[in-house]
Symmetry: C2
DNA sequence: TTGACATATACCCATATGGGTATATGTTTT
DNA sequence: AAAACATATACCCATATGGGTATATGTCAA
């Protein structure tokens, strides 16, 4: 038995992992190839413990893999969990395209008015 | 002058708005057409104030528009801000496809082994 | 105008979060 | 073995977050 949680963890899936800008930055760097932690510290200009913490979230969600290399820990991108995000958001592509073409229509109208009705 | 914030707000962009499952549900419903708040309350089986709060976040991020209709407030999807999410995640498509084809290779190998050698 | 209805807001609460500093852990070099 | 290096973890802290209940606000119906 346990009382209802006041708030559920929000760092347990790809959507949340990727909601944090720092973590997107990390993934963006790793997209260019695997990197030890210190590289990320330098590139992100963020305290080392914070980088490690973000990496932990990414690891728990499966967005990165780690490999030991002497005294370094080399992190590597695993983009697979991002497919879920992509699949969800892809469903809205039509919706924003409609919006854009609706805007185009308005602009066309304005242009037509400019040239006399 | 102000002291450094201990933590920045995380509900101020599309990435974060969409990280919350309830809000994705709301958008999924609105994708089927505009809806008054109470419809969402019924469909999501969530307390009305919570729905209103999630709608507020979505509104602030520009993912929904509102329209007054008598004593109802009708919410409507605006998918445009999702394009940013799509654009970012799209850049990783190649990465997860590589992973999948790497997996395919492994499976092929196992299959080959099964049939002798 | 009084009451029902629809929605937003003001609170309270427990917990998650991200940043920070100090330190533990493990590895390589000297 | 000791020192330097690389990384993870344990804390502390302020604040954001999501859920909940009560209530304010505004609109329509009787």
């Amino acid at each position: 038995m346990f009382s209802a949680m006041a708030r559920a963890a929000t760092t347990t899936d790809a959507f949340n992992a990727v909601a944090e800008p720092r973590r997107r930055q990390i993934l963006d760097v790793l997209a260019g190839g695997e990197r030890p932690v210190n590289d990320l510290v330098d590139l992100l200009d963020l305290a080392q413990p914070l980088v490690s913490k973000h990496l932990r979230v990414l690891r728990e969600v499966g967005l990165v893999d780690v490999r030991d290399a002497g005294r370094q820990r080399v992190y590597r991108l695993n983009a697979v969990p991002l497919k879920a995000v992509h699949d969800w958001v892809k469903g809205y592509a039509q919706a924003w395209e409609e919006r854009f073409s609706a805007l185009d229509d308005v602009l066309e109208e304005l242009k037509a008015e400019e040239n006399g009705t």
